[in-house]
């Protein structure tokens, strides 16, 4: 089940309780299109795990299955040792979820939006804490519609963190953000990790995966085609390193598929 085979996985096979997410042989198709094709992965507690791949690789479908928003056609999912079929309410209390393209209500303020979501959780962070964490204190009383793209995205992360989750799911968290907003967002995520949180994110940015992720699974056509630490993946590539060109995950993807990550 553990697909990792690089140097990083030489460490002991993770025991059941060490896993934040474990899925086995996931399959999902929409009509004739196979979105996820027998995908298995384990995410350890406390790590940041990245699903890297081009658009249409099946990343979003996979993460939405893990989030309990989509039912797989086949396969097993366990999140924090619980199952969606039997423990949904308990699970929802412990997860933080950020989806692609959520638009919060235009004419509610940042604070009102956070309060609304805070009210769904039995425990969690205070609104002040959250605003400080995502650096939106000055926007507390602004309507959502007035926020910039980066601020909206950080609000979305704050909403995901409102219940003080053990596990954070992020679907392309920095898509469409300018470099400064991305760096700010990464800072927020690194602070969450420092508090012991686990992150599973999807991205098609190699640099994001390299900065944030302990391990990366490269996904293409609904399958994992490589899984290891970013460093090991680049090392395995065996490209002769020159002073001019350090290997990147882009090169890894190229060598595995013969295509660029962001072809589409």
């Amino acid at each position: 089940m553990n697909l990792s085979s690089g140097p990083a996985s030489v460490s002991k096979k993770p025991s059941f309780m060490d896993l934040a997410v474990s899925c086995h042989q996931l399959k999902k198709s929409y009509g004739d299109v196979i979105a996820v094709d027998g995908l298995s992965l384990d995410v350890r507690r406390g790590e940041c795990f990245g699903l890297l791949g081009p658009n249409g690789a099946g990343k979003t479908t996979t993460i939405e299955i893990l989030e309990g928003l989509l039912a797989p056609d086949a396969g097993d999912v366990e999140v924090l040792g619980l199952r969606w079929q039997t423990d949904e309410r308990q699970l929802r209390q412990r997860l933080g979820i950020q989806l692609q393209e959520t638009q919060f209500t235009d004419k509610l303020t940042v604070e009102e939006t956070l309060r609304l979501f805070r009210s769904f959780y039995d425990r969690g962070r205070s609104i002040d804490d959250l605003l400080a964490l995502v650096e939106l204190e000055s926007k507390r009383s602004s309507w959502v519609v007035k926020l910039s793209g980066g601020q909206k995205q950080r609000l979305s992360i704050a909403v995901a963190l409102v219940g003080d989750p053990d596990l954070l799911f992020l679907d392309e968290p920095s898509t469409g953000l300018d470099p400064q907003s991305r760096r700010q967002l990464w800072g927020v995520l690194q602070r969450f990790r420092a508090g012991g949180g686990t992150i599973l994110l999807t991205t098609h940015y190699m640099d994001e995966a390299e900065v944030l992720c302990d391990r990366v699974a490269v996904v293409d056509h609904g399958k994992i085609i490589a899984l290891d630490t970013p460093k090991a993946l680049i090392a395995e590539l065996g490209v002769p390193r020159t002073v001019v060109h350090e290997g990147t995950l882009e090169d890894v993807f190229m060598s595995l598929t013969g295509r660029h990550l962001r072809d589409e």
Binding site: T102, F104, T105, S119, R123, G124, S126, I127
Partner: protein
């Protein structure tokens, strides 16, 4: 450092300072609503504009003179004199060729052509034309020397509450309850679905039924002014009597609003475009505008369809509201109507909860 103080705060405020979910959801919906000026306009001003327009278009019947046309020219002089003697008749000249148009538009109710005997040209299918024909006939025969065996004494009474406007305002009020309930909730739901907000909400531990309830509850808070404004307007502007208790009016309005709110939720439960929800809303509400007796009595429709008309939620609401406002009916007297409304509400909510699409 800060975590100590925030933990203390979190203990004092178990939800980190937020209200219970149902309250927060309702507040969010209310805020969204009051921050949308158009929504306020339609809720409060629309019923007033509608009442004024209708009251102007249909003043109390019976007091209006009937409009009689005669061919232009000297040949009609005798007719003009005979008809003009009756204060209930207004005479106007009709040019050749425009007779049918004037009759159709209701500019004249009957056209009289001189002769022995004269000719009455009118549409017997129109009530006001039949009345006009009787009055013309009476006036002309009397002018020709008919002697009546006696003239009845008339005991004219003006019953407050029996005028058209008195009857109309509670109907328009109910129309507002229906439209606001269905449109505001249906639109909001579809919009939140299009914005993927619904999907985000169900990814949280929010209870779905609390979300659906909150949408309807938020509506309830606006119901007070929404019902009061047209009623107060009716009392002040038209001297409309309110014979029922305010409590009973409030109860009928509340049950009606709940029922239509849930119906709106049901209509919006699967749709994912504004065009589709608009179509669905019109398909549902336009027949009720016509059938449910808001502007004219639904007893005009054939007996065979009456049971179906009775079963419509707007018919039940309009009948119940009129009974309470105009006749001071007790809740017991309108229990059948209330039961119909409650059934619609409960069934809509139950079905919506089942078939609602969150993604």
């Amino acid at each position: 450092m800060t975590s100590d103080s925030s933990e203390a705060v979190a203990k004092r405020l178990p939800r980190g300072g937020a209200h219970p979910a149902l309250v927060e959801l309702t507040l969010a919906r209310l805020r969204e609503f009051v921050r949308e000026p158009e929504a306020l306009f339609w809720s409060f001003l629309f019923p007033i504009i509608m009442s004024v327009a209708m009251a102007l278009a249909f003043p109390s019947r019976g007091t209006q003179p009937v409009r009689v046309g005669v061919p232009a020219g000297a040949a009609s002089d005798a007719l003009r004199a005979a008809l003009g003697a009756d204060t209930g008749i207004v005479v106007r000249d009709v040019m050749p060729g425009e007779e049918l148009r004037l009759l159709r538009e209701g500019d004249v109710n009957v056209i009289v052509t001189p002769g022995v005997p004269p000719t009455y040209r009118f549409d017997p299918g129109r009530e006001e034309s039949r009345t006009a024909r009787l009055m013309v006939d009476n006036a002309l025969k009397r002018a020709s020397g008919r002697s009546d065996p006696w003239t009845a004494r008339e005991d004219a009474v003006a019953i407050a509450g029996s005028r058209y406007v008195d009857w109309l305002i509670p109907g328009i009020l109910c129309l507002g309850i229906m439209s606001n309930g269905m449109w505001s909730i249906g639109f909001m739901t579809v919009q939140a679905r299009m914005r993927k907000l619904l999907k985000r909400l169900v990814a949280s531990p929010m209870r779905k039924r609390e979300f659906l309830l909150a949408q309807v509850l938020a509506r309830m808070l606006f119901l007070g002014p929404e019902v009061a404004v047209p009623l107060v307007f009716g009392v002040l502007a038209f001297g409309m009597p309110i014979n029922g208790s305010v409590l009973n009016i409030a109860i009928v309005a509340l049950i009606g609003a709940l029922s239509f709110g849930f119906l709106g939720l049901l209509l919006g439960s699967r749709v994912r475009t504004i065009e589709a929800i608009s179509g669905l809303m019109n398909l549902t509400s336009v027949p009720m505008w016509v059938l449910s007796g808001v502007f004219f009595s639904s007893s005009n429709f054939p007996a065979a369809v009456q049971p179906a008309i009775r079963a419509l939620p707007l018919t039940a609401l309009v009948d119940a509201m009129r009974a309470v406002v105009l006749e001071g009916a007790s809740l017991g007297a309108i229990r059948a109507e209330l039961l119909i409304l409650i059934s619609w509400g409960v069934a809509s909510f139950a079905i919506a909860l089942r078939i609602f699409k969150w993604r």
